[in-house]
Amino acid sequence: MPKNNKIYWLEGVTEKEVKSLLSNENSKFSWLRRQRNRRILVLFMVTGLLITALGSYYPDLKQGLGLDGSAEVIWLTIAVLFLLFAVLVGYSLLRIAVRGIADAPTELLDERQVRIRDTSFRTAYMIAGYLLITLLLLNFMGPDLTFLGDSGNDGSFLLIATLFAYASLPSMVLAWREGDI
């Protein structure tokens, strides 16, 4: 008789999904769990998120660079959408690389995994705090960017990048710091 697949609404995962990631069922991804490859993935994610965030300034940059043709708009939009897709794939791979520990509920982890999960959240929270302070300082005391103009930047890509960063930061910390996962 098949066992019910419990859903953890708060963490946004299912029991089957977590158990599958924690086991060695996904042995085809074992190469991804090597620390060097995990770190490369983290660097890819950080770069992708930064570029996605800069996509918010795309209308300003377009005006600043003097681009006004529809072809440029189409190609740049496709490029940003492709980047978003790449970040989404990167996020999925990152979860596999750290066995989904950052998103797993306590009852499905052992005591060491609970400890590293909680430590990664603490570190992620501190990094997010320092980033916020840096952005605020840059906003008040940074270089004058008004030469880029203001042509309808709605900050949507910045918001998407922030949400992705918020969701993936604990996994990124785990991927970067831990020896064996």
Binding site: D110, E111, R112, Q113, D180
Partner: protein, 80 residues
């Protein structure tokens, strides 16, 4: 974990596990942890809770004091 514990605790988990003919996976299943956690424990990179230490002791037919120590264990030469 890559971080070192504040005070090292030495253990004989690997030695006793091998003596009992258990694999890391078998010991991990018996005490309810991930097999990599057994590796961390054996290398002294993670110190278990008292509850886990007691479970390991039961599984290895030894006392907690025989498995864990604040001082390094003497290496026993195996002539078998």
């Amino acid at each position: 974990m890559s971080r070192q514990p504040e005070e090292p605790i030495f253990n004989r988990i690997e030695e006793l596990r091998i003596q009992k003919g258990l694999s890391r996976q078998q010991l991990a299943d018996a005490v309810g942890v991930h097999y990599q956690t057994v590796g961390y424990l054996e290398r002294g990179e993670y110190n278990p809770s008292l509850s886990l230490a007691l479970k390991i002791a039961v599984e290895l037919d030894a006392t907690v004091g025989e498995i864990f120590s604040l001082n390094p264990f003497r290496k026993v030469k195996n002539h078998a």
